[in-house]
């Protein structure tokens, strides 16, 4: 039973990390219709910048400065790249972000080399906060939860309680009308893109020490961020949160419990075939939940798109 609690905490950490990436992306996606394939690359840049800064000024300055640099870079990409491509339509925009992701990975390899970086948890946080039945919960995890919750509350406040937030929300759905009312929509786009990538940068800064800082870290993250925002519903911050937590918990629990396919099939009344080794479906029978944990979100997404194209909390057709 204690293990369930531990898994809940672990899943929460994974989910909140995913949320920091998807929060920015869902705003960018719903505002500009761009599937920003380079979003995870900004996450990687966050980690590398923070590593570099932490060598000179320590972890905390990295946490402060790296996301700002990433955000400025992101805004620059929007201003000088995406905005130009925007006029050609969505596919060129997508290809642009695709090429950008490729380029950023190559640049990182060029600048920092191809090896793993020794980017580590700061000593202040490198202790066990508490233990549940022998399972230690590192203090750094608590710190990660704290940071992401703070960011969520901050975002929610800005979006729903401030004038800027109102304009952003309006621009999400009716960019033409907002522009007609005299607001500078391109500037809003640039701002949202900058903030979105900065959030990805924060995620990179705090995930780098635990998940590893290496040139493939953006690729490993892959398309899971898109899956999250589609499940949650495009443009919905709450949706992104719910979907992130859902994915965090589903994958954590699937990995923690060795549920075998044969058990499931036996439970619903299908008997295991006599000579399994010769059976065509032998590999399906021996599948266990940890093996498929990481593809469960994709299955969930396809199901959601079939039965509820708006996503869990969205109000717009995908």
């Amino acid at each position: 039973m204690e293990l369930v609690l531990v898994n809940l905490i672990d899943g929460l950490v994974t989910g909140l990390l995913l949320f920091m990436l998807s929060a920015g992306l869902t705003l960018i996606f719903s505002m500009m219709g761009v599937l920003n394939f380079a979003h995870a690359s900004f996450y990687m840049l966050g980690a590398y910048f923070a590593f570099q800064i932490s060598l000179a000024l320590g972890f905390w300055m990295g946490l402060l400065i790296a996301p700002i640099i990433v955000g400025v870079l992101g805004a620059g990409v929007e201003r000088y790249g995406l905005r130009r491509v925007h006029q050609y339509g969505h596919v060129p925009e997508l290809i642009f972000t695709f090429g950008l992701a490729l380029l950023i990975e190559e640049l990182v390899q060029f600048l920092w080399g191809k090896n793993q970086m020794a980017y580590n948890i700061p000593d202040v946080l490198n202790f066990t906060a508490f233990a549940i039945a022998g399972n230690s919960i590192p203090a750094y995890k608590i710190f990660m939860i704290f940071i992401s919750v703070a960011i969520f509350i901050g975002l929610l406040y800005v979006l729903t309680r401030t004038r800027v937030g109102m304009i952003i929300q309006a621009a999400l759905n009716y960019p033409k009308t907002v522009e007609a009312l005299g607001h500078n929509v391109p500037l809003i786009f640039m701002g949202v893109f900058g903030v979105g990538t900065a959030l990805a940068g924060v995620a990179g800064v705090i995930a780098g020490p635990v998940l590893g800082t290496f040139p493939g870290m953006a690729f490993v993250l892959g398309s899971i961020v898109f899956v999250t925002i589609v499940i949650g519903g495009l443009g919905s911050l709450w949706g992104a949160l719910v979907a992130s937590l859902l994915i965090g918990w589903i994958t954590t629990f699937a990995k923690s419990y060795n549920l075998a396919m044969s058990d499931v099939l036996n439970a619903i009344g299908i008997a295991t075939p006599e000579n399994l080794a010769d059976n065509v479906f032998r590999d399906l029978w021996t599948v266990t939940s940890p093996q498929i944990a990481d593809i469960l979100p994709y299955i969930l997404m396809v199901l959601i798109l079939i039965f509820r194209p708006y996503g869990l909390l969205g109000n717009r057709d995908a």
């Binding site: 635990v210 590893g212 940890p290």
Partner: protein, 414 residues
């Protein structure tokens, strides 16, 4: 416009091919491994070690035969079987007769089959496959062929040596086996279970599982299971970021016992583990780095560091590949007739720089050599890795490991 495109293509192809003119007095070795992409660090480090070994051991000593020099040429296969086969063809067309590859048993499998087919279909320009690191046991068992030579100890041999050491440790009662979900990971798991049950029936295997390769972002759930199982030891065949991720996560979440593994040194991993891995990581491998076995070994390592200050000699067997190839070419008296060279390699005994005698077993082309169990530490380390204070220090040696092991190989000689 289509025409002009194709003419342009022609020009580029002609360019590639023209630069491939073969000079008579160099013996070229094609190094086909990832030089770009996520696995590039291992590939690039391997290429450097090959280039250095060829230069330091052969060219600076007057070459082979009548002064023929070695040249190692890197081909980027992007760790893709398809690209490997294309690059293999390009290498063969450049007149290269020796193919070296090591990263990923999947690629090795594709290459060994392609080489076998090529040699059967084109008897005039046959090639040899020098496998320096792919350790899937099948390559020297069911899938063996005359053209393939493996210079690393295969996964079964290493596991045999590793479990010898584990069996001697009475404090180990529960073992957890975890690995990547593919041929090599499965081979490691099977060998671990088979060896442990044979050598120490009282050891309980408390976990045996596979995780997707290169896809796991966070290893926490796996480490929770390992901690919860109460394991005294963990065995894993993980490599690259999967090794670092698993190792760091397991230690972070409260595991204190040893992790027995294959690939947790060099390529940034030693540096990234640092203090956390001390007293935990135990590696099995060939070639003793620390303490240095001889002055020759120290000289070799120092000379390498002069040339590549950021590099590591983390694959000592590469010196054996070059050394044994040179010896075979000298014995055969030719650098062109690969059948004669392969025959000379079969059954060859060679004294490696890093302390071991190497015997190329004729019946399956598996190199038999000393296998060492070493620890990740910062004490007594002469040659560190990754510019950190840490390195590997040999604790136990199994000499000529698995000398009399059986092989299912049915060697077809030309």
């Amino acid at each position: 416009m289509r025409k002009s495109m194709k003419l342009g293509l022609g020009a580029v192809l002609a360019l590639t091919v023209s630069s491939a003119a073969v000079t008579a007095d160099t013996i070229k070795v094609a190094f086909i491994d990832p030089l770009s992409g996520p696995f590039a660090s291992t590939g690039t480090n391997g290429l450097h070690q090959f280039e250095f070994a060829a230069d330091y051991m052969i060219n600076q000593n007057g070459g082979v035969l009548e002064g023929d020099m070695f040249e190692v040429i890197g081909f980027d296969n992007k760790i893709s079987p398809k690209e490997s086969l294309i690059q293999l063809q390009v290498a063969i067309d450049q007149g290269i007769r020796f193919i070296a590859q090591g990263n990923s048993s999947g690629v090795a499998n594709a290459i060994t089959e392609a080489v076998n087919k090529h040699n059967k279909r084109n008897p005039d320009d046959r090639v040899l496959f020098l496998n320096y690191a792919a350790v899937d046991p099948a390559l020297t068992n069911d899938k063996c062929n005359f053209w393939h030579f493996r210079f690393d100890a295969n996964a079964d041999i290493k596991m045999d040596a590793l479990t010898d050491v584990m069996a001697a440790d009475e404090s180990i009662k529960k073992v957890y086996v975890i690995g990547q979900d593919y041929s090599f990971g499965k081979a490691v798991a099977a060998a671990a279970v088979a060896n442990l049950t044979a050598k120490r029936p009282d050891i309980e295997i408390v976990g045996n599982e596979l995780h997707p390769i290169g896809k796991v972002k966070d290893f926490t759930p796996y480490s929770r299971k390992i901690v919860a199982s109460g394991a005294d030891a963990v065995i894993t065949g993980n490599w690259g970021s999967d090794m670092l991720g698993l190792g760091k996560s397991v230690i972070e979440n409260g595991y204190t016992g040893p992790i027995y593994t294959y690939y947790a040194a060099g390529s940034g991993i030693t540096g990234a583990f640092g203090e956390t891995g001390k007293g935990v990581i135990r590696l099995v491998g060939e070639g003793q780095i620390n303490p240095p076995v001889s002055d020759a070994a120290s000289d070799y390592y120092n000379a390498f560091k002069v040339k590549f200050p950021d590099g590591n000699v983390d694959q000592p067997r590469i010196s054996n590949v070059i050394g044994m190839l040179a010896q075979a070419i000298n014995a055969a008296g030719t650098a062109d007739d690969v059948v004669a060279i392969a025959t000379a390699l079969e059954g060859m005994e060679y004294d490696g720089i890093f302390g071991s005698k190497i015997f190329m077993r004729p019946n399956d082309h598996q190199a038999i050599q000393d296998v060492h169990i070493s620890a990740h530490t910062n004490e007594g380390v002469t040659f560190t890795y990754d510019g950190s204070d840490y390195g590997t220090v040999t604790e136990t040696t199994v000499s000529m490991a698995a000398m009399d092991s059986t092989s299912t190989c049915d060697m077809q000689r030309p």
